[in-house]
Subunit: 301 residues, 2 copies
Amino acid sequence: MKEQEFIQIIKSTLNSKYIGDDCAYLKDLNILVSQDSLVEDVHFKKDLITPYQLGYKTVMVNISDICASGAKPLYLTISLSLPSDTNSNFIRNFYNGAKDAALGVEIVGGDITGSDKIYISATAIGSSKGRKISSRSHAKPGYKIIVSGEHGSSAYGLELLLKGNPEFTKNNIENKFIKSHLMPEAQIEFSRNISENIQSDYAMMDTSDGLADALFQIAKSSNVNLDIDTTKIPHDSRVDMQTVLYGGEDYQLVAAVPESVLQKISGYTIIGDVKEGPFSVNFDGKTFTQIDDKLFNHFKE
Amino acid sequence: MKEQEFIQIIKSTLNSKYIGDDCAYLKDLNILVSQDSLVEDVHFKKDLITPYQLGYKTVMVNISDICASGAKPLYLTISLSLPSDTNSNFIRNFYNGAKDAALGVEIVGGDITGSDKIYISATAIGSSKGRKISSRSHAKPGYKIIVSGEHGSSAYGLELLLKGNPEFTKNNIENKFIKSHLMPEAQIEFSRNISENIQSDYAMMDTSDGLADALFQIAKSSNVNLDIDTTKIPHDSRVDMQTVLYGGEDYQLVAAVPESVLQKISGYTIIGDVKEGPFSVNFDGKTFTQIDDKLFNHFKE
């Protein structure tokens, strides 16, 4: 878990209240800001994703963090570092994908530099105006745990792509799993629906590192027990529960909200309840205080 | 000039008024945002800069773009992509350098991922409150051209470092040229001084790509002639005029401002006058309409 160790060092070096969250809430400016990177051969393989899809995914991944906070995504900057043999078609297709993903969100800057491999880093800016901003530490006993969409589809799609079967390629975007992986959709409406209709504190995260990871993070930060009924988690029947819980990159949202808000919103599925702490997560009655080590971790050797 | 070609493609694909400037001015949020990357073996060599200096420079490079707009730098996010053999000392030293550079500016987030080489991308956010924001297209005939600091020192420092002479290493930070290159200083006060005291439109840029490049960009965007007296450009006598004009990474500021504001500010040197267009730059009476091709360009083979 080198990544977590590094984040702890950064936190103690900077002595900042912001480090460690997916978004920084800059209250004096009424904005939220989030930065995420996509690195060739770490987050994607060039032969498994088209430049258009890469642009699309870059934008969605970054908008998703803003959505998880409940803020309204407004602006994006994108920095591209590209090998010197990159041609203008790559740029054109990448930005067409980015543009199509960024409906209602404007791409306003960034830079281009050289590099050995493709390296993309984007920053998303959202507005807190008229929105109640979430925190992963705001889950409270009595709250319901709700999710958007289907879970595990992206990881299952990646499995298909990795098989090398000519049936399952980046060009077969009609396959819903492959589409989930290569062109995920940030949950803008789900987020807006909650953050415009809620008065109480609440917790919300995206499932970029997997649903289980998000649940553990919320439970830990809020010092509560999350009691999950896995049979309630929406997923395609072809995807096993291991992948549903631990597969990352679905970019769905999971939130812990007071029951009273549920009548004002739609498009959610209740998958469990928040109970008194100390911190733990129950899957179908079985209690866990440590996450299974099957998570996506870039520094895992 | 592949980099410029790519920027043109991005501009036309996105049809955005923002792309192409160093900072995006998001007027609805009263902020300016800028993103810049530092890539190993493109922008720096690991053996020629310490982790502390790299953190310091990363912050200064990004704050400098905000300073060039006249805004007040407030926040930074930093994304690091690091080889798996990176140790915790690197992180600690990098962030100590970043923290020391970011006086008055808070580092509020970012992410860490794996990679083959070190990639750093940072985003700076500044506030336009109480500041007049510059634009490179706002130089007007009759304006004076002023600069901060000394020019060419950073490029000269890089020359020294590249010599491989044991006298000139990253550890010899008492050498002012090496310090200029490895630990440049963003011109926060020079910027504040102008943007808080000026009512008229004005042009300002930093000299990250060299003083001559900044002058050409301002002249072109404003469609004016910039008449420069190179003998007035502050520089160390050991640095030749070629390096003074074309050496990059000094992160000094160059501005075109009305003469009336000069009595309200300090710490500047007048190096020339803005005259009627069409676009051109005079160096000591010799007219240029194209910049010498000695500029730093990442895609130049």
